[in-house]
Symmetry: C2
Subunit: 139 residues, 2 copies
Amino acid sequence: MQKKIDELLKKNHLSITGGRRKILELFLQQDGALSHSDIEKRAGEKFDRVTVYRTLQTFLEKGLIHGIPSPDNSLRYALCKEDCSGGHHHDDHVHFICTSCGITVCLEEVMIPPIKLPGGYVSEQVEMLISGVCKTCNR
Amino acid sequence: MQKKIDELLKKNHLSITGGRRKILELFLQQDGALSHSDIEKRAGEKFDRVTVYRTLQTFLEKGLIHGIPSPDNSLRYALCKEDCSGGHHHDDHVHFICTSCGITVCLEEVMIPPIKLPGGYVSEQVEMLISGVCKTCNR
DNA sequence: AAGGCAAATGCAACGTTGTTGCAAATTAAT
DNA sequence: ATTAATTTGCAACAACGTTGCATTTGCCTT
């Protein structure tokens, strides 16, 4: 695990530090997306708020994670898959937010269908957000 | 215009006050969505920050406006069409954010296509967010 | 039209969230 | 090991959002 983390950092030309290791670990430990405050809580008292902000910013720029907007106005972050390094994302899957347990997950297998826009509009990025009840809460 | 505003308020069982009038006017004066700070700036010094928060909250609850999440983590609001009063929204259209001028608009004519979710997931609400260059910026 | 009640507003205080500058510490390269 | 560059923590600050309470306003009844 630690090895995988370090490789991930190196691959993205980032120096290996305690904070970055810890935050990456949190992302790898679960498949749901994390908000800034999630990370701050789970990382314990060990890291400064500012470091978390800056680390997330760096990860975003390097394409390690992507941001997911949510209806309640709190941005969440999730790990990108292998093929979207370098700021260019293959982020064309649906995001799901459970209204019961609050988890946010990437539904990698659900592609966003193509949309025909009215004349004059040019699409650059598409984000699809579905809220409802998730697999786990439904049983 | 003033008449239309008052009717809208009455129809939604809201008392008619200066603040509500002014905020509704702002929404009617343009077709783009407004953030909290947009409203605060345009309303001038006349209204307290808190009043704006509470008014938007009230309008949301009554179904006069709906919230639109955005990638930069600032919630915007837009007027609902006639048929979605009472908290139940017919909010199944696409939202478009222009990366050039920053405007957010509802593309009423573009419906969100149905999505098939993996087993166990139940959809309650779908939000679709497209960013790119808008009609006006493209010419 | 006036009085009384409920609702809305403004104010103050507070908590949270996010940003910036700078000095100290840590990392990576030589 | 030394050095240069990056990263971190701290402090201060700014923006955003919430709450309680006193005052004002809108609205209903008579």
